[in-house]
Symmetry: C2
Subunit: 241 residues, 2 copies
Amino acid sequence: MQSHRQALLLSSSNCYGYSMLEFAKQEICSFLEKNNVKKLLFIPYAQNDYNKYTAKVKEVIDPWGIEVIGIHTYKDAKAAIHDNKAMFVGGGNTFLLLKRLYENNLVDLIRQNVHNGNLLYIGSSAGTNVATKSIHTTNDMPIAYPPTFDAINIVPFNINPHYTEIENESHKGETRDQRINEYLEQEYASPVLGLREGSILKVDKNKLVLKGVAGAVLFEKSLKKTEIAVNTDVSFLLNKQ
Amino acid sequence: MQSHRQALLLSSSNCYGYSMLEFAKQEICSFLEKNNVKKLLFIPYAQNDYNKYTAKVKEVIDPWGIEVIGIHTYKDAKAAIHDNKAMFVGGGNTFLLLKRLYENNLVDLIRQNVHNGNLLYIGSSAGTNVATKSIHTTNDMPIAYPPTFDAINIVPFNINPHYTEIENESHKGETRDQRINEYLEQEYASPVLGLREGSILKVDKNKLVLKGVAGAVLFEKSLKKTEIAVNTDVSFLLNKQ
């Protein structure tokens, strides 16, 4: 079945050398403008202070001519999804976020509304993790226990946000690459797209393109690791799961 | 009820400037000698190649006069726990380890045998995480979904192994301290002992002492952060949960 999904999956909201979300401003604005959307439903579940977090995002995005509204200000979270044409899921803790999305019965609803073309999805960091097949490749600490690691599945593979290969030589803990390869050893593992900070995966139906100001790295089984430059078409990832 | 637990909880097996487990050799040897134990049951579940992992540990520990035997070489994992007086749970991925301990019905059995004094416990990294109240403060990637984050509970608080405050300034992902404090914001959170690499928590009934070649940091609710030096008595942690 044809998916009508449209999404922007950001590695992070913050990127070295830019103010909050600045590197993604143009992509976000043209994404919403093209769809005549001027209101953005914000999901602050990845952090604990919903009002503070929403106010912080509102301060950045409202001046762009887009009105940010927190989902917690609606009486009914499911109605909020129905009433809006675009949502932004902010970063924080991925486990907390996924648990709260399930508690509010939003996972299936968001998946359906995105795939049938009624809802534009923007996610950042944890908000990007939950947009993928599963949260198996988050960097976050497991501070809360969600009912499953399966997620919204806007894209059927995994993403590692904040991807970096920089490590501290005197530290003997595992490197990011080692962690991702441990995942790839599991039989149920999908390919993992490591999005560097400043990187955006743009999803338009079955067309996937890497946008933003930084590249990405694709990890596949058999330890294959491929650099991916900005503006590369990565639609082939839809056939890799 | 009085617990007869005896355990050595290592931050890691590797420590900068030392060969594998070298920094812990004296503690491990005197711990086992004092109890007349010359055989160590090794649990390789945190990694995928049980034979390879067991051989690697055997190569280090057998020359100390202690015979290492992998639990996977026993027909019955539960019988292996009954038949041995000391176990060593190696590092790797904490989620994989906890899932496999539950799959083999070992969590309750190990807890009982350690608390009643029939089983000495040595853990390193992931093996230390599963010895605590829960795995909420592991650094590992959630590559497998365990039936719960609750763990063996030899000690009723949390440990963060490989603790470090060194961060890369150009990287905008969260710091270790931020992650631990996100956990402490949860109502069910316990204090978190951040064990630096080279650090060992020595548990002898209700006496807890920090051993090894590195210190630790204690994180508590209300953002309290306390440095703990080697040889400090931290038994007070048993009354903090």
